[in-house]
């Protein structure tokens, strides 16, 4: 376990999102809302195209924070879904996640998380608390 400092920036990681991953997430989570799989339906309700589940974006950010100290170390995790992640057919949409250490407390650290697609933030107020050994 490395030591952390307040203000320390953790290296960004890229998570590709495509239509196949949306189907995989729908099956794993039980969220079969057609706006995440059916282009025609998504457009019929005023969306530009199929969009990713907000909770898929958050699950990928959950993987990012799990990589800091393991999935069992995550105590609090929250985010706002500020922009839809559009997932066109046939290509990968790149989600870029990074984080900054915002506070160090006894036995735990707090992270501010940034999640970007095409240089636009897709999560707001994304924060996590992680227990450190």
């Amino acid at each position: 376990m490395s030591t952390f400092t307040v203000g320390q920036e953790l290296a960004p990681k890229v998570y590709p999102i495509n239509r196949a991953l949306l189907v995989e997430y729908a099956n794993a989570s039980g969220d079969q809302n057609p706006i995440h799989q059916n282009e025609e339906f998504a457009k019929s309700v005023g969306l530009p195209d199929v969009i990713a589940h907000g909770m898929l974006t958050m699950a990928l950010a959950g993987k990012y924070i799990s990589d800091v100290a393991g999935p069992a170390a995550v105590k609090e995790f929250g985010a706002r879904f500020t922009k839809p992640v559009v997932v066109p057919a046939g290509v990968d949409t790149s989600l870029v996640i990074s984080a900054k250490v915002s506070a160090i407390e006894v036995g735990q650290i707090k992270l501010d998380i940034t999640a970007m697609v095409d240089d636009v933030k897709v999560l707001g107020m994304a924060k996590a608390t992680i227990v450190t050994p």
């Binding site: 699950a59 999935p71 995790f77 706002r80």
Partner: protein
Amino acid sequence: MLNAELVGRTFPGVDSTLVTQESIAAFAAVVGETNLEVAPPTYAISITLNQSQTLLQDSGLDWTRVVHGDQRFEIFRPIVAGDSLFCSSTIESARVMAGNEIVSVRSDLHSGSELVVSTWSTLVVRA
């Protein structure tokens, strides 16, 4: 529209959900997690969101126009395979902003008397 009289009411879960190793593995595979000893941090949503959907649809909310506004988890201990989790949900608030209906739901997952995970979801019903 949600029946405003339901705000503040807690709906106890009827059935428990048995967490299987397969369901943890499926959720972990989506995000590339290889540690399968515990469920990934957002796994609880696979139980709580479905219950919220049933609850809110039964309460008069149009789920086809719902988008997720925000989400928060407080994890008291990680969920593990073999957990049998009861989900109780409370509609904490409901308001209308710019024609959109905004509903906040808290769901608590209990194993017996132990509170394992609490989740807070804000759901927006687009006008």
